[in-house]
């Protein structure tokens, strides 16, 4: 377990990082960005895998299974739609 205050420090610094990273984003990228940050919390997949990996009873395995399925959906779906959107952004020069 990451101990008390270390955890709090991580929490605080990561919080400021998120705020700073987003604060300079132009409006035109808001939708892809929401989608992109949606993809990033797909990291929940990793936690779901660990939970399923340690599950013992049938009920735990079932819920863990659902968790991994949902987490994988979050990660993969988030990536696919974000990538599709960002791929389309081109400047006049690139657009021939």
């Amino acid at each position: 377990m990451i101990e008390g205050f270390t955890a709090l420090y991580i929490f605080m610094l990561a919080g400021f990082t998120g705020y700073e990273v987003i604060s300079r984003v132009p409006v035109i990228l808001h939708t892809p960005l929401m989608s992109g940050s949606n993809f990033v919390h797909g990291i929940v997949l990793v936690g779901a895998m660990v939970a399923l990996g340690h599950a013992e009873t049938d009920m735990e395995i079932l819920i863990g299974f659902i968790g991994v399925m949902l987490g994988a959906g979050n990660a993969v779906g988030g990536y696919v739609v974000t990538e599709r959107m960002l791929e389309m952004f081109k400047s006049s020069k690139e657009a021939k």
Binding site: Y19, I28, A72, G77
Partner: protein
């Protein structure tokens, strides 16, 4: 092995932050998502090597099913339906966080009170984000047309929330959590997510989706603490704070406070009771020929696209028309309101899909002082975002919302399907101005006709 896992998670967290950073500029955005994607792959693969794990078969199967379905749906979804798709993927993340908490709580070992508290809070937030996002999806997809409002609703919601909290506290304190109380806890939390989202109107949904996105991030961070997983803590917290900021930006662009969005359905408050007086004047029609001539001989045309254009799938034709104008030496700019489309930036995505370069697209602050110099403002399928009432009439529900000053252009041409009102149900004063002409028809047909007329000139 422990070291390899730690290093990989560290790398993943760094890639997520750098990726998000790169997504903040259109030039590097594409690379940004690829970086973040690489981080995800690294983290996922290394997790298979976590010591003392079993159920690998189930794990692989679950990833294949969940990932496969999401891949297919993500590739297939049209750009207009993007907001609800994001909602559904986001809900899945919240559900996964709740599932982690459920497994850990059922595990029976009492780790420490901090552990229990964080697990329960994460579970609560994750469950609400899950069921709330599903309702948001259903609403935007048109599966659920009406906003459910009943007397005493807020009190009822509060009771449900209180109940969820109570069972949550019981779980926090319990040495051995009973299956029954876990079930009730999750049931109430999920119910609260549904109840909280039901009364919110479709127009406010983007703000809500963005809020749930931030909430899911937080839930992931809390479960990250429970599992001592630094990558989850960092990624979850970054998304939590970034999502909160994004939610505020969106709410501000729509001139609504977050509490206003969450606790009063649009038009259910004072807004609808203030019956709109009929606007003065009449709507004046123009045909495609005259409109085409007017724009062909203009120096500067500003196109204001709205969601109506996207519904008519007219963006390709409109861009083709704009290029014809440019060939004739007309300066063409696209003006986008922050909430054009279904969520901020959605219209930019739709125009990008049609091939409009992003440097021809201007947002509200950049373009508003250019309208007085524009010969023609061509409004296609936009309504509330160009309604001058937002500046002039304090009784209007949209009063105070920043709008595009299309009415200040020398001439305004509004392409519209019929004479109906906008999404908010507010009469648009722009249509009745002396310098406004209405061009009725489906966006795509009209753009096609305009192109044909231009070719004949």
């Amino acid at each position: 092995m422990g070291l390899a896992i730690d290093v990989s998670y560290f790398l993943a967290a760094a890639l997520f932050i750098l990726g998000l950073k790169r997504m903040s500029s259109p030039v590097t955005a594409r690379a940004g998502i690829v970086w973040a994607g690489a981080g995800m792959v690294v983290a996922t693969l290394i997790t298979f090597l976590t010591p003392d794990m079993h159920n690998y078969g189930w794990m692989t199967l679950a990833i294949a099913i969940g990932g496969g379905l999401a891949w297919y749906s993500g590739k297939k979804v049209s750009m207009t339906d993007m907001p609800q798709m994001i909602a559904i993927y986001n809900g899945m993340g919240g559900g996964a966080a709740a599932a982690i908490a459920a497994v850990e709580l059922m595990g029976g070992e009492f780790h420490s009170s901090t552990f229990q508290v964080l697990a329960v809070i994460g579970a609560l937030i994750g469950s609400v984000a899950f069921s709330g996002s599903m309702v948001a999806f259903a609403k935007l997809q048109g599966l659920m047309k009406r906003s459910l409002v009943f007397p005493g609703q807020q009190l009822f919601n509060l009771l449900v929330f209180g109940g969820a909290l109570m069972f949550g506290f019981m779980l926090m304190g319990a040495e051995q959590a009973g299956g029954f109380s876990i079930l009730i806890f999750f049931g109430l939390a999920l119910l609260f997510g549904i109840l909280m989202t039901l009364p919110i109107g479709g127009a406010d949904m983007p703000v809500v989706i963005s809020l749930y996105n931030a909430l899911t991030g937080l839930a992931v961070a809390f479960e990250g603490f429970v599992l001592s997983n630094a990558a989850m803590i960092i990624a979850g917290t970054v998304v939590g704070s970034a999502g909160t900021l994004l939610t505020q930006l969106m709410a501000k662009a729509m001139n609504r406070s977050l509490s206003n969005v969450l606790f009063s359905g649009f038009g259910s408050g004072a807004a609808s009771s203030a019956e709109q007086g009929a606007e003065e004047g009449t709507m004046k029609e123009i045909d495609a020929t005259d409109a085409a001539v007017m724009m062909a001989y203009a120096d500067k045309v500003i196109i204001v696209p709205g969601y109506g254009m996207a519904v008519a799938q007219a963006q390709h034709k409109v861009w083709e028309f704009a290029r014809f104008l440019e060939e004739r030496g007309v300066t063409v700019k696209f003006a986008i309101h922050p909430v054009a489309g279904r969520m901020p930036g959605h219209m930019n995505v739709l125009l990008a899909e049609a091939g409009v370069p992003y440097d021809k697209i201007y947002d509200l602050d950049e373009i508003n002082n250019e309208f007085p110099q524009a010969d023609v403002a061509l409004v296609i399928g936009a309504n509330d975002v160009v309604n001058p009432v937002a500046r002039s009439n304090p009784d209007s529900p949209i009063y105070g919302m920043p709008i595009l000053d299309a009415d200040k252009a020398r001439n305004v041409i509004c392409v519209k399907r019929g004479k109906g009102k906008g999404f908010s149900g507010v009469e648009n004063a722009l249509f009745f101005l002396d310098n406004t002409r209405m061009l009725y028809g489906d966006g795509q047909d009209v753009a096609g006709k305009l192109i044909a007329e231009l070719k004949q000139l």
